[in-house]
Subunit: 246 residues, 2 copies
Amino acid sequence: MSTARSSLRHRIADELRERLEAGEFSAGSRLPSEPQLARTLGVSRSSLRSAITLLEADGLLRRMHGSGTFVTDRPLLHNDLSQNFGVSDLIAATGLDPGTVAARAAREPAPADVAGAFGIEAGTPLSVLHRVRTASGRRVVESVDWCREELLDPSELSALGDGSLYAALSAQGLAVHHGVATISPTVASAETAKRLRVAPGSLLITLFQVDSTVLGEVVLVSLEHHLAGAFQISVYRRGPGEIAGE
Amino acid sequence: MSTARSSLRHRIADELRERLEAGEFSAGSRLPSEPQLARTLGVSRSSLRSAITLLEADGLLRRMHGSGTFVTDRPLLHNDLSQNFGVSDLIAATGLDPGTVAARAAREPAPADVAGAFGIEAGTPLSVLHRVRTASGRRVVESVDWCREELLDPSELSALGDGSLYAALSAQGLAVHHGVATISPTVASAETAKRLRVAPGSLLITLFQVDSTVLGEVVLVSLEHHLAGAFQISVYRRGPGEIAGE
DNA sequence: CATCCCAAAGTTGTCTGACAACTTGAGGTA
DNA sequence: TACCTCAAGTTGTCAGACAACTTTGGGATG
């Protein structure tokens, strides 16, 4: 635990986050005052305040001028889409056992939408990883991942197996900073149906996701077909708070 | 513009956010140094730093110790689900004209799932608002909103018309602090199909959302059936950044 | 006795100044 | 040319002070 290289305010925020999620402070209760909490943690009040600012932005805390800092009882979601994670994590979060079948890596020309995301010409060869993900043996997700072949070639992809693409990219110094997922309802094509062992026309929820580094460079594009109802896909939505025009 | 009551750091953050989205600083470029920018804005460096912390948490900026603060070229999403907004905003964000037809308010017993979200017994009477939302005349969303009848009675709901439920609740001192949306693919029932003027069995994307106050009290439950393809539904997903176990 | 008012204590918000930690680039040196 | 060193510039953290706001409780008032 603990990434030593990050700044102090992030370490404090992580520390407090863990305590909050461990239920050390009950929902709605008031935290110790800033000077007191800062003394307890052995940091300055300004660093503590920075950390609290982060947690407030996450919706875990709420500060009230002159009154105190309070714990909001934010529901803890098993799988909050606003956090970026892989399919394996999603499956594991529901208590099932993640697995992979029918993995196949290749070098293929980029389809138009994928090429557009990468900002390259359609047809440029890319490394591609096709997988069918299982949850305790049941086939639930068909995924396709595209990636520049300079970064990961097909043999490296097929060596991944169950591992996370994010970890592989991070090891190359290309940590994924954020992704943008576009969600749409679809029905299973003949091929997808066959791979997922369901009837053609079955309801799916499809995520098209573009992952980028902190510099905005697109390093990974994914297409995931989820069996409808296999997971509960949720999003924590901040706001609107007080309405501006009033 | 400008919500006068919020704290200075939020006003600064909003100011900077607008400038960033207006493209004043190009993606990847470095911001002026903190002391300089603070002078320009007429605020102290500490307040400016708090504001930057907020924008960094949002993924708009990235600070590098000793080097500078840089603009992340985060794609600007028309409709980021991790922000909570109403259907009208969603429609307006795509440049279309939001409207409402077939609005109908009533007092109805709570279905099981809605009652569960409110933490009340199924069958308890609630105020309900049924609407069909239009985008430049086209029927695109069927929505149902449930709410405690002590907070808003059916007559108040029907008086809303096109207005935002969030604004109405905020006026009652019950500002919505966050919501949790669950997303699933569905097909149109006979009734929904008739109301949306599409064929039964048409693909829909359905959002079941529970909105709460800062204290965690559930004040609004909504069910929205969106016509597939009517909007591009996207989520900005933070992380994973550097992988912990490395 | 009930009610209102107000002052004091406690809390978060902001400011100022200073120094530490780190990065970058220019210049000198081999 | 290649490498090293150092100075300048940047963000990170600290400390202390005061402002702004909320809450509480006691005292004056009816």
